[in-house]
């Protein structure tokens, strides 16, 4: 429990504040619009009717958690910064929630609490309840603060990633939409060269390769070359191994389906700047630049690095540029709290969407949350914290501003996206927010968008 005497400063002032926040009765006095059946319970302060109140209780608790989280965020960075207050609120939050139990909101709040705790203590790292890096060799790579997944065993991350893939369309949506746009752009080409900003395990390309070998029109045996950008040695090792391993895997896969394929690497500078001159280009090949920023388990990529890739892409005048990024909702004045709330909303939609599709798979979802989403939440908040005060601009807008021309998303592409979502749950929506952009959303919350430009 909190030792009030030990807290410095005029703790009388905020003791009342905290008491009011922690008091169970606090929320009942607020005017919250609920359904008519439950409105009676609100007027009777403190007591809650037993019958059919569970969802009301959950809502109330969820609301209280949100209030506490926002209060903590405010205390951390607001105008009246107060780290002690923040600490106290986080303590209270930790009493209320655990990442392994409870409703979506409760588990989510647990991860956000952890993340805020990390910010408070300045580590910016992950405070996962379960796994701590026991060894520095074997599958546990050196713990790098910017690589959230490295704390977990690589097979766990992969397993969780596979689960996420199967339980939601997020990853596939981005990949498939981009791939379809690419296929259409290179339909008549014999040689195709794709430069991938962050290839990771190369999962995106499996389906593209398959599509290339089975295309009916156009030159029958296209030659595909993929150049993956690799980061210099010394920086975080990819949890799943190097870009070389990905290359080997892709080569094997291409061979297995009979596609002529070659794999290249292009080193980025030490500061991860992309230099177009480092690419090996061949005359007559169709050049495609690909930039996926939405994978839940990807590492931090500095905006400058991404920008260098996009700038470089412009100079190369590629056939196509595909880019997938997460959607950012309205963030108010752009301050930390606004973005914090947006992030809360974003991940809450994530959790909801997974639960809606798989209500019975609590354990599987728990694993995905623990291994992928939880660390990602920490990572997101760290980014937001780092970037507070700066202007946030979606890359799609950035591209348009720098002279990239939109390329229309085709009917077939849109159709594919709709079909894909149809497999999952009808809470997912796809819409064309612009002629060249498809947005995947959950209920009313846009989640990520795919931009196609040239």
């Amino acid at each position: 429990m909190v030792d009030w005497e030990a807290l410095p400063g005029p703790h009388d002032d905020f003791q009342d504040l905290i008491d009011s926040m922690m008091d169970d009765g606090a929320l009942t006095n607020q005017s919250i619009r609920l359904t008519p059946e439950t409105s009676n319970s609100m007027s009777t302060s403190g007591t809650v009717f037993v019958d059919e109140e569970t969802s009301c209780i959950d809502d109330m608790k969820g609301l209280r958690l949100v209030h506490l989280l926002i209060a903590a965020a405010e205390a951390l960075t607001g105008l009246n910064k107060n780290r002690d207050l923040a600490r106290v609120i986080l303590v209270r939050l930790k009493e209320l929630v655990t990442p392994n139990d409870g409703t979506n909101m409760e588990r989510l709040a647990a991860y956000f609490t952890d993340a805020l705790q990390g910010l408070l203590e300045g580590t910016g790292g992950i405070h996962s309840n379960k796994h701590h890096s026991e060894t520095n060799n074997g599958p546990y790579h050196h713990h790098h603060r910017d690589d959230p997944q490295q704390r977990h065993h690589q097979s766990d991350v992969l397993g969780a990633f596979q689960l996420l893939q199967d339980m939601s369309p997020y990853v596939k949506f981005g990949h498939f939409t981009a791939n379809q746009a690419i296929l259409e752009a290179v339909a008549d080409d014999r040689r195709i060269h794709i430069v991938d900003y962050d290839i990771m395990e190369g999962i995106q390309w499996a389906s593209l390769m398959q599509a290339l070998v089975s295309r009916k029109d156009g030159p029958p045996t296209p030659h595909l070359k993929i150049t993956a950008l690799s980061r210099g040695g010394g920086s975080s090792r990819r949890f799943i191994g190097s870009v070389q391993e990905t290359g080997r895997r892709l080569v094997a896969f291409a061979a297995s389906i009979g596609l002529t394929f070659s794999f290249h690497q292009c080193r980025l500078d030490s500061d991860e700047t992309f230099r177009p001159s480092a690419l090996k280009l061949v005359r007559g090949e169709a050049l495609v630049m690909n930039c996926m920023l939405h994978l839940p388990h990807f590492s931090y990529r500095a905006p400058d690095s991404v920008a260098s890739f996009l700038y470089g892409a412009k100079t190369l005048n590629p056939r196509l540029l595909t880019m997938v990024e997460e959607e950012v909702g309205p963030i108010g004045d752009g301050g930390f709290v606004g973005r914090f709330m947006d992030s809360l909303h974003h991940y809450s939609a994530f959790y909801d969407s997974l639960e809606a599709g798989f209500p019975m798979q609590g354990r599987a979802r728990g694993l995905v949350e623990r291994v992928i989403l939880g660390p990602r939440i920490c990572w997101s908040l760290a980014q937001i914290y780092r970037a507070r005060g700066e202007e946030a601009c979606p890359w799609g807008v950035w591209l348009a501003a720098r002279g990239f021309r939109p390329v229309k998303v085709s009917f077939a592409n849109h159709c594919q996206a709709k079909l894909l979502l149809g497999v999952f749950n009808d809470g997912y929506r796809v819409e064309e927010s612009a002629s060249n952009r498809l947005v995947l959303g959950w209920k009313s919350r846009p989640k990520l968008n795919v931009n196609v430009q040239d």
Binding site: K130, H131, E134, T135, G138, P139, H152, H153, Q154, S155, D156, L158, G159, F161, Q162, L163, Q165, D166, M167, K172, H175, F176, N179, E201, G202, I203, A206, S207, M209, Q210, A211, S214, I240, R249, A252, F253, I257, G357, F358, P359, M360, Q361, G362, R363, A364, L367, R370, V371, F411, A412, C415, Q416, K418, L419, L420, G422, V423, F424, N425, D426
Partner: protein, 261 residues
């Protein structure tokens, strides 16, 4: 009776006609009833029951006859004629001819009216319809193509991910043997241990996700919205190798009951 009824239905005041489930609106202000012999005989019976044409009232006749669609209007005029002593046969013939002529005229009027109202639009309308149909057909074809391709692409991606997973799990088990004193804490691995003792069948197929369409991956109908592309389709071979992932999922007893959309 039925034939009389049908005709009766053709000429029903005030303006609505019912023909089976259709609702027709006629503009004929004086719908004629075709008094067949049968109908007339029923009429006469009813009148006789009521004590003769002078005593019988149209309302009473209607009630006794119980013919659907027969209205007071019909009966009033018929009764009047009856009272004036018209012979049924003659009357019928005359009436029949008159009715037929009227009917024909009605048809002609209606046809003309239709032509004038649609007029030029009729052709245009038909082209429009054709165009829309062709477009719909093309759209449908394209959607089918997309569906077909999508399935292949999803499978390709899954196959690829599985090769990664396989390798990863092989690495895990290798490491477990290597670092005996420091057991590698793999959550997936530990999940396997926890659940291998359970009774859950190792065969993990589409049903665990509640997908009951096991044959092929596409629904047999053409509805685009219910595309039950299955998500995990491990075959037995891969199951042995993967081990950890499948039981982890299959371990949830709820799996057997759940339906994913």
């Amino acid at each position: 009776m039925p034939s009389a009824l049908m005709q009766a239905h053709d000429r029903e005041p005030p303006c609505f006609q019912r023909e089976s489930s259709h609702l027709l609106i006629t503009t004929d202000p004086k719908p004629r009833l075709r008094w067949t012999l049968e109908l007339h005989e029923r009429f006469v019976d009813a009148v006789t029951l009521l004590g003769g044409p002078d005593k019988a009232t149209p309302k009473a006749i209607m009630r006794i006859m119980g013919v659907k669609g027969l209205t007071l209007y019909h009966l009033k005029s018929h009764l009047q004629k009856f009272r004036l002593g018209k012979q049924p046969q003659n009357y019928l013939n005359e009436q029949a001819i008159r009715d037929a002529t009227d009917h024909l005229k009605n048809l002609q009027d209606a046809a003309t009216a239709r032509i004038f109202s649609d007029g030029l639009d009729k052709n245009m309308h038909r082209n429009e319809v054709l165009r829309t149909q062709m477009q719909a057909q093309r759209t449908l074809d394209e959607q089918l193509k997309v569906k077909h391709h999508l399935q292949k692409r999803i499978d390709a991606q899954r196959k690829y991910i599985q090769t990664i997973l396989e390798k990863a799990y092989r690495t895990v088990s290798a490491e477990n043997r290597l670092f005996d004193d420091q057991p590698v804490v793999s959550e997936m691995g530990s999940m396997k241990e926890r659940f291998s003792a359970s009774n859950f069948p190792p065969i993990y197929d589409l049903q665990t996700y509640g997908d009951h369409s096991h044959d092929g991956f596409l629904p047999t109908d053409d509805s685009m919205s219910s595309c039950t592309i299955p998500m995990i389709s491990y075959d037995d071979m891969q199951l042995q190798q993967l081990g950890t992932l499948a039981p982890c999922l299959a371990s949830e007893e709820e799996l057997h009951q759940m339906t994913y959309n």
